[in-house]
Amino acid sequence: MLRAISRFAPIALLLAVCTSCGGTDTGGDSDTGTGAGSDIGGTLIEVQPAEPSTLFPPKVSGNDAGVIVGALFDRLANIGPALQTTGDQEFTPALATGWSWGQDSLSIAFTLDPKMRWHDGAPVRAKDVQFTFATYTAPEVEAVDASVLGNIDSVSVRDSLTPVFWFKRRLPYQFFDATYHMYILPSHLLDTIAPGALKASAFARAPIGTGRFRFVSWTPKQRIEIIADTLNARGRAKLDRVYYTFTSDYATATVKLFADEADFYEGIRPVNIPQVQASSALRLEPMPTLRYEYMAYNLRQKGDSAAPHPLFGDVNVRRALAMAVDRASLARNVHDTLGAVALSAGPRTLIPDSAALKQIPYDPTAARKLLDSLGWVPSAKDGIRERNGVRFSFELMAPSSSQSRVRFTELLQQQFLAIGVEARPVVLEGPAMGGRVMAGDFDTFVNAWNMKPGRLGMAQTWRTRGVQNYGRYASPEFDRMLDSAMTSLRSDLSAQRWTAVFQRLIDDQPGLWLAEASAPAAIHRRIRNAPLSADGWQRGLADWSVDPAQRLDRDKIGLRSAR
């Protein structure tokens, strides 16, 4: 045994010596071939909280994988900074240099850029676009966005550079449908693979796209590396390489950021914001959001979707609860200066005329009177309201992974108690809460939605039998208003109708609209970035650069491959 120990002693010694080694992480020399003052070159390291499951675009969900796929692949056209989804005026060319509408507005012919190449050198052709649509809509692929492509009837190939989209009906967001939901895929690499096998194919873990960055490597549970595509027809990306490094533990992620081992983190929590502000290496970058938080009611009885919920089936009860909650103080308490009261079921940026919305005022006295008038009277025992022997007491769930939502449950509990209503916070793991919510086995829960441009999520979350209408809100009048807003071709009329939709959700209160919070990203000061977009910070990543005067060792690696 002693002999064995003595054998390991040198290793221990070596480990001890290593603690005194320098903190620099690279020592490579630059081969960017650019002058000292050039803004070409540099390395960006982004800390991501989770490793993507796949880089196969149709199967990508969530922001983490989305930002990587967005850097590697292209759409036919890009949405403008205002995220305007109606018409095509604000879209800019990407793989397509232009497009023309059919006379009946039921088709769009895109003209592909003949210079565009896949990262393996093959040209981008119309059949790639046709293949992409077929793949996204193939049932075996189970594409995340397949359900929103329902208005596209087919894609045909007019010639090798002209794919034509055919639509079932005229809608204001036809162009958005054709361009936003699909990244174009290389048919020459994928058309021999069965659609159901694509998500597990080698391509899904080593994709070949057309973006201004190309894929280099994926080290499981550690990082994904991409580098500038120097042969890209639109010009190479300014940065040499980007690492997406996976760190699921928040404390470790922030330590990595503050230890100069990472350059960008979009999940910074309010508690660490002063630390970022005080840092000489980091700064905060405003990041708009399409996210809102609310308390969802179950409007149907647990286990019986036909019967109304004994408490929340009555709209007047829901309105009384809305009156009991000081949402401004809640938003401030949870999000500090980064938070604002949510006006309705959507962030302000997606509400056309937010000033026109009439809110339910904070008025606990009126809330008490309304509940009294509905027969919910405080019990003599503990002051909690009762009606016909039914106690006004309910579960308020939140996922343990979200500090803000857990905090909301505590604050709501206090405010409801002030009007004689008992909310019992229940904090559960995500899958446990998800299982109960999907089964309709809940009273209320605090939820957050990240909406996509175009308010398409409204139908999924609030329309009768919507895919994510977990509270089972069912209003034929609301459905009619929503359809009318979504199909309105005139912009002024569309704005009016959308405002009416949001007002309806305030009046009906299928959820108690709590807050929307902007979440600034922490970014290294040497990085010069394009403005961050609400639908993914990677937009414009190819134009990010590193200040030549502030380069670190890792910025000097250049484009060379691993040793």
Partner: protein
């Protein structure tokens, strides 16, 4: 085999008893009820637990641990990625814990009840009581940024010359290794101290001294004899070390079995969990077997019995 089978069966049943399943993830993109139903059918989540277990077992016996719908990869590929990292971390932590623990405990046992022994006993008791994650956080606070906070290598390590790459790897290894080793050393030192103290009172030690052997030789002989209980403990410590590795790997972002297990539990990834438990319990059984073999090698009486 029986231990592995029992561990897997238990974990399979327990994870199914926990609320939620791999598809009840609300954070994901919307899925139509039809798609959810199809996926449940495809992954056999709609069948009774015992049926699911039987189907999984039939495949596992052929070396197929199934497919993770969340990671979109075969479970065996996930295990193959994670196992080397854990073996590296745990193997080194176990070896250094045993080595340092035996040295420390042996020194203490030979000088039982001296002021030095008492101080070290107190220190090892404190270290023994500290959970690995607390120790990990303290180490992070003390040594970062002098040492990297997590991962197996720097992101840019592949660009470094060979020697710098080795150094980089070792620097990333230190903090997770220390977190496991400090606690492990305390455990072994406590057992080794007790065994050494008892051995030093054995008649053969008195005889050796009476024969005129110098004290160093006597202690060396006593240390060899006192190793037996420690070797047994080494085998029994394996599951605890594996449990500690789960927390340490999570904290230090070490891409091993511990992190895989943690993610599988929190995401209700039944198939990954079952595969990881097979590997973990096999490692435990092998660890105990190794302890038995080593015990027999050190003590001929064990072999004879």
């Amino acid at each position: 085999m029986l231990v592995v089978a029992a561990a897997v069966t238990l974990s399979f049943v327990l994870i199914h008893a926990a609320p939620g399943d791999p598809l009840s993830n609300m954070g994901a993109e919307p899925m139509s009820p039809e798609l959810v139903a199809r996926l449940r059918q495809a992954y056999r989540l709609d069948e009774p637990v015992l049926v699911q277990y039987g189907q999984w077992l039939a495949l596992a016996l052929q070396g197929d641990f199934g497919y993770s719908p969340l990671a979109m990869r075969p479970v065996s590929a996930l295990l193959a990625d994670a196992l080397p990292a854990t073996l590296q971390l745990m193997g080194m932590a176990l070896l250094s814990s045993i080595g340092l623990g035996v040295l420390l405990g042996g020194w203490q046992g030979a000088r039982a009840d001296s002021p030095g022994d008492r101080s070290l006993s107190l220190l090892s008791l404190v270290m023994y009581s500290v959970p690995e994650f607390c120790l990990g956080i303290v180490l992070l606070m003390l040594f970062v940024p002098a040492l990297p906070p997590g991962g197996m290598t720097s992101d840019t390590a592949d660009m470094l010359p060979l020697m710098q790459r080795i150094v980089d790897r070792l620097r990333h290894f230190i903090l997770p290794w220390l977190s496991l080793t400090i606690v492990g050393t305390a455990v072994f030192a406590r057992f080794q101290r007790a065994a050494m103290r008892d051995t030093m009172r054995e008649p053969f030690v008195r005889t050796a001294r009476a024969k005129g052997l110098d004290e160093r030789q006597v202690r060396r002989q006593a240390l060899r004899t006192s190793l037996l209980p420690v070797i047994t403990i080494a085998g029994l410590t394996f599951p605890a070390l594996l449990g500690g590795a789960v927390v340490v790997e999570k904290l230090f972002n070490w891409p091993g079995m511990g992190q895989l297990l943690w993610d599988a539990i929190s995401r209700r990834d039944h198939w990954v969990l079952a595969g990881a438990v097979v590997v973990g319990s096999t490692m435990t059984v092998l660890g105990n077997l190794l302890a038995d073999v080593t015990r027999a090698a050190v003590d001929p009486r064990v072999e004879r019995s």
